[in-house]
Symmetry: D3
Subunit: 334 residues, 6 copies
Amino acid sequence: MAHQFGIHSGYFHPVLRKWQQSDTGITPANLMYPIFISYDPDAEEEIGSMPGVKRWGVNKIAGHLKPLVASGLQSILIFGVADDSTKDEAGSVADNPNKSPVIPAIKLIRQTFPDLLIACDICLCTWTTHGHCGIITGESQGIDVEKSAERLAEIAVNFAKAGCHVVAPSDMMDGRILAIKKGLKTANLLTKVSVLSYSAKFSSCLYGPFRDAAKSAAKFGNREAYQLPVGSAGLAEKAVDRDVQEGADMLMVKPGIYYLDVIRNVKQKHPSYPLFAYQVSGEYSSIILGAKNGLFGLEAAIIESMTCFRRAGTDVVISYFTPKILDMIKSGEI
Amino acid sequence: MAHQFGIHSGYFHPVLRKWQQSDTGITPANLMYPIFISYDPDAEEEIGSMPGVKRWGVNKIAGHLKPLVASGLQSILIFGVADDSTKDEAGSVADNPNKSPVIPAIKLIRQTFPDLLIACDICLCTWTTHGHCGIITGESQGIDVEKSAERLAEIAVNFAKAGCHVVAPSDMMDGRILAIKKGLKTANLLTKVSVLSYSAKFSSCLYGPFRDAAKSAAKFGNREAYQLPVGSAGLAEKAVDRDVQEGADMLMVKPGIYYLDVIRNVKQKHPSYPLFAYQVSGEYSSIILGAKNGLFGLEAAIIESMTCFRRAGTDVVISYFTPKILDMIKSGEI
Amino acid sequence: MAHQFGIHSGYFHPVLRKWQQSDTGITPANLMYPIFISYDPDAEEEIGSMPGVKRWGVNKIAGHLKPLVASGLQSILIFGVADDSTKDEAGSVADNPNKSPVIPAIKLIRQTFPDLLIACDICLCTWTTHGHCGIITGESQGIDVEKSAERLAEIAVNFAKAGCHVVAPSDMMDGRILAIKKGLKTANLLTKVSVLSYSAKFSSCLYGPFRDAAKSAAKFGNREAYQLPVGSAGLAEKAVDRDVQEGADMLMVKPGIYYLDVIRNVKQKHPSYPLFAYQVSGEYSSIILGAKNGLFGLEAAIIESMTCFRRAGTDVVISYFTPKILDMIKSGEI
Amino acid sequence: MAHQFGIHSGYFHPVLRKWQQSDTGITPANLMYPIFISYDPDAEEEIGSMPGVKRWGVNKIAGHLKPLVASGLQSILIFGVADDSTKDEAGSVADNPNKSPVIPAIKLIRQTFPDLLIACDICLCTWTTHGHCGIITGESQGIDVEKSAERLAEIAVNFAKAGCHVVAPSDMMDGRILAIKKGLKTANLLTKVSVLSYSAKFSSCLYGPFRDAAKSAAKFGNREAYQLPVGSAGLAEKAVDRDVQEGADMLMVKPGIYYLDVIRNVKQKHPSYPLFAYQVSGEYSSIILGAKNGLFGLEAAIIESMTCFRRAGTDVVISYFTPKILDMIKSGEI
Amino acid sequence: MAHQFGIHSGYFHPVLRKWQQSDTGITPANLMYPIFISYDPDAEEEIGSMPGVKRWGVNKIAGHLKPLVASGLQSILIFGVADDSTKDEAGSVADNPNKSPVIPAIKLIRQTFPDLLIACDICLCTWTTHGHCGIITGESQGIDVEKSAERLAEIAVNFAKAGCHVVAPSDMMDGRILAIKKGLKTANLLTKVSVLSYSAKFSSCLYGPFRDAAKSAAKFGNREAYQLPVGSAGLAEKAVDRDVQEGADMLMVKPGIYYLDVIRNVKQKHPSYPLFAYQVSGEYSSIILGAKNGLFGLEAAIIESMTCFRRAGTDVVISYFTPKILDMIKSGEI
Amino acid sequence: MAHQFGIHSGYFHPVLRKWQQSDTGITPANLMYPIFISYDPDAEEEIGSMPGVKRWGVNKIAGHLKPLVASGLQSILIFGVADDSTKDEAGSVADNPNKSPVIPAIKLIRQTFPDLLIACDICLCTWTTHGHCGIITGESQGIDVEKSAERLAEIAVNFAKAGCHVVAPSDMMDGRILAIKKGLKTANLLTKVSVLSYSAKFSSCLYGPFRDAAKSAAKFGNREAYQLPVGSAGLAEKAVDRDVQEGADMLMVKPGIYYLDVIRNVKQKHPSYPLFAYQVSGEYSSIILGAKNGLFGLEAAIIESMTCFRRAGTDVVISYFTPKILDMIKSGEI
Ligand SMILES: [Zn+2]
Ligand SMILES: [Zn+2]
Ligand SMILES: [Zn+2]
Ligand SMILES: [Zn+2]
Ligand SMILES: [Zn+2]
Ligand SMILES: [Zn+2]
């Protein structure tokens, strides 16, 4: 035996193990909780394909968040869900002061939970009749990238004025980070609002259940023109670099587990940017389904997935399991 | 708009896209097919937790492989399944010339399919009464690392003499690669047999169905003493480095998707070593289950998972989906 | 012998060698063919210092390209050669719709070979009386960088309007990529034309024969003010970074073999950009000369040079050997 | 103003700052406390050049450590101080069961503070008449590297048998890590004792006060033959690689602040090894002297130095300020 | 002994040592000398906390520099010291043609020593009543970043017009490099003046004596809002990247020794930028104090510090020891 | 124009250019001169395919070297050329004290030029009847790697005893560095002789003229079994790592210019090892031929090639141009 190649002598004592272990712990600071705010102010609706996740009305959301904040919840990510009858081509309901479900929710949550960091998803698909993430233009029914960026910036500024701390554009258009930064500067909010960019968002098969939840499926065509091809590490790197050059404050990779190598790449190239991973609906529901069918234990699978995210370089995981994980932390299971 | 930050002008023409795309294609050369060889020479048994996977007897295996080889199959990974009555403390049945199911299977397959690359898993858990991956010793019932490495080397040499091209130790003991290399040298097989090391094998919750398949669950204790903790990128790096220093020819990360960042790390640090990923039983069964329950399409999920493996730096994926993927390649779906 | 240090056990079997070999193959997709288009529409002139290379007139070029396209040619790089009598200070003949040899050539080739990717070199030296790569200004007879960039953008836009897919500025002035991108945007061609930047072009002794071919030698001074000093890896990195920041879609290193380390550096820092190397006239003629004098075999030297380019990280080699290599591929020599 | 280049929007909120800050905190786990054990069992001697540091006798040491352990002290590093009359050429007093001050100290401390991790410096200079770190040999009065390594291994094994968890050879001879590992293996202590190597120890001008403390100045010649030249990053890398190849479990750079770039290099190349930095006597005394003379505040300088160590990649700082820092942690100053 | 792990055979011969040693030599080209120019044209004032450093009047400075230039001095860094009675909110004395001490000093030095490279520190703190590095604004008494950048650009242009080759902004505001570059372009000085950015300037405890020297202590608040937190490697990287994107020609880390790892990081990420380190007043005075108190020899400590700067990747050290080091070079001590 | 992207402001002044330029100078320390020592003690024979290079007898060599040493020559690399009649299967003439041309040459040169560093090539091909680089064995006429390594070690030790400082094995067998180190240790020369490994020696078409010079062409078969395939960056990395693990003191890449990316890789991975490049006979003769045919100037091509070697990371170039370059240095052309 070549005794110099062994690895066991490095971690036989508790103090040694502390020194050996890199930082892959899971604390409330490593979690962001996505919530769906319905146009119906009294809603509390189950979502069939995502067991345990609901759409909440503005009158119900504080009640839902209160025990979570008590358990240590530090940040949320708001998605609006629009009434179909209010949708139009430009998604004007998004920031309509009277009809948007997001704006009153921001105000209420900021007032009720002053220490909670509020992030808002910024996209058009949830607010438009066509269900695409940008403004559709001309005969080709293609996306007008510049007009889309302008519209996204408008929404971002209005959500920021309502009180959110972070805006998170999920559309993947060229130039939207820069447009949002310009908008925030004009509104004198440049240094009081962070931009969390969905920088490397792939055209994955794992988004199905979410589109149920947000009622945001595209009515025609698909999103492959603006989301990234799953195999392209190169375009992912270019997309992240683009967002860094345009001024993003924080970066995201989406989906999560299938893209851990991309997470690793982004953290390695941009170590000074807080990095988010979105554990998407298909990942969430797969774990629940596997546990129900005896492939593995639910808690074991949640812990293994969260630990893997942290090991790969994720600072914050956006996860529907957040309430369950806060419980597990409180009970000492994690 | 900051027109210099756009990424679209780089891939509007087919020739440009060829230049842009990094190599993430899936060909038969990127697949290794794991097969279970039963002690019962006429077996063809379904495995409940892994739909579509069977244990094959030596009399049946050629019939199963023939159409796959015709479809382009290039390499297999053999696991033996022992009759409980033949197991003992040292796993002596493994390479018993009269009782081992593996040795006749190697001989038959090498003769029947002379171009097929034959790899054999080398471990003790499937052959021992206690179900652990090494020789148990003394009162503490701990593993004797040196004796285990010697025994593994014996088995490896005997499988090599029977005609396999690659031996693949999956036990994670310090020093076993070196012991196997010494054994092969003594047998004058050093340059005619490759060692594929299970270098970074994590203590994951995703192995459940496999233990059914190989009848290899541990009878007491667990494997945490020799498998890696899921969060430890550091120990994974040390384990891979150890195997490289001991002389491994090829490296593996196991399980797969949850460890893509580790795959990325290993490829980055050891670019000159062919890298394998094992898409383990829990991953396989999760995809089948998710597809059955409408979370995503089966083919879409298989393609996305395989593409992700390749993007992260995997050269060869060990996958139970191999027969299905060979079909998809033939039909042009991939 | 330290048997763990041996490397032979890793590649004794054909499947193992497939796994071991990194991708250094040479296919038609890895080649771009440079052609000289003469102002004389019927030209077919030999170039003394570059045996086997000719200046072609627009009436002859399709006949020359036809068998090459049939052999798999995928992309060309067009250089114009001007009649001395048409040259002026600003190189206005370059894109003069009546006098430029390039514009009719683009139109003809695009029409005749619709799948062929057409790239055009963009510079001033071939079109100006002084033979420099920019607009000369003031008493100091120095280059006016901004005016030069504007003029190059004009030419690029006009070549793009004529139908080329890629414009390739070879002048090395600060700011010309940005100017070209602005021009293309105004012309609404931003996403339909790629910019291939001669990013790291060194002031080498290997360009002699080319200046014969393109009739582009400088009439006074030299190009050291804008080309890079041969030893400066640092300025090469800054020049490439500048082009990436200005929006280049693809990058180039020129000359080739003497700069393989620079190619390696560029690929390592910008892995998501397709990378070109120009095997320049001095390299081409040296190989022909060495083979004629028995230093090595012609085919052996071509294959070794191309393989070295690919190993260093080159995606596409711009080579005068393209016709010969297409033949070698067809005949199975490569 | 180029608003996309600003960095302030990334850290205006406390939760954002948590995300932004990399892990440079200082906890008791990041500290190792060096102590001098005198041959005089009742010693409690001040050391003139190191205000606040004392040599302790075995009868006094538990009293000194008790309040520190109560404040969270997790590990110590023991240096022995020998009576001149007991020194000889081979340093035999080091592990003489009757005369060594270290062996009874280890036993006592292990028994009194069972959770405290005990590390022991292993060198010869403190025990030999000549004051060199190895065995002097022949006419040239040079060091016999092999004999030195054997003697160091003997001492290491005897200290390990007395109960220390970590042995820390500080001599810088080739081959001593391997010799120690072999000795530990023979003693069946291989997996129960860690080796912390003084891997990159430079020939610095900052050791003066320590030699007072340990009474270990060389009687002739100097240590430049075995310590590293201060400018040689290359030899430092080779020395660390050597120790990793010989089997070291943990690595050290010494001195500290002047070598932060070396610390960075070591952490980058060997991220899976816990990394120690020794804030040596000259650094310690400089901070005390500067504070006394009004250049800076004492606490401010201690915090800045410790934070810099952590930022550079140090896991554990060996510091004479440990008692003061434990106090500062307890009082919330850190 | 594992003879293959030894490192001594690599450097036993003088030619081998030449090959082994990386370039850490100290020549006059590696030094920049900071000088304080007083408003009093005849000043030659000692600075108590920095033994050996003086404030010089314009009538005395040439006499001081003459022997240094003769000893090889190649570059200086000028700091102005203002009469309190001339300070105002905007620091208008800085570039007031009649009152600024800097402008006549530049003119005189350029004329007297035509080969000496002249750099000027650009900041507001030394010229303003409030002592902050920017323009104070509004009720919050915060810094107006844009106005500050404009004012700094004005000063930079005026110093450049007076004849300095390099301007060195030390304020750490977002956007000031870009503003200075714009100003220089308008003044047609873009390619005749370099910008040396204080890119990573930390909020350190080591600046005390300097503030005496430059009479620039802040009258209220502190500089933590614009200087970097000592532990933040991430923000340091972002700050440097920001300056590179804004067009800086050269980079600086300040203070020096405590930040060698940051120096290493910057050189690694931006190898093509000349890198400066500022050995600040607290470092300078600590070395003098330690030597006076017998901790180490003065020359030994100077050489070790300079060698460490060079090893970490520093191209040029800004050091108050410059005159002494020039002497040591001349006498062959270095 | 985006003025922040310009690169010219960084190098307009001589002092700035000094700071900007990385170290690519060419001094005598960067050159090693290969010489052929003939079995005929009075030889001075021209070699047809390498104009200007001769085989020297031991009685003539001092006369040839004297003016070169006077011009600054610091190191040589000796190749022996054997009389065919003295060759046998084991190359026993190599170190035969009475017949080897190398041993008397070493003794003479060491005595005549005591400061000159003497390196000796170690291989079998020049001494054996079959012309292969190892011991041929058995019916397969393959190479016995272990016996070859033993024989090479014998020769190395005997050359070392004769007085050479460096032995340079050029055979590419696994295990020969380790065998040589063992031999040197037994001879008590371990720390007095360096091993310069031909680590990455490719199977190139550029060696033709050398085989004339050394009369070392293989009589049957070829060297592809032990030299590296030209495209395999991966095997090159493994081969270098193998030599580092076996204890090599210095590394080499061969041939040169076509392998600059490999040079870059080796320097990047092993920065602490002095790196050599061999500008082989085919490169040498190509430059002479190109210059004679007017493709470029001879001096320009020599300087460009040497500068490129240095830029890529070469510390020492082994070049037949050494005498000419020493002249160029002396005359100030370089
Ligand atoms: Zn959307
Ligand atoms: Zn097992
Ligand atoms: Zn040109
Ligand atoms: Zn010592
Ligand atoms: Zn200031
Ligand atoms: Zn040979």
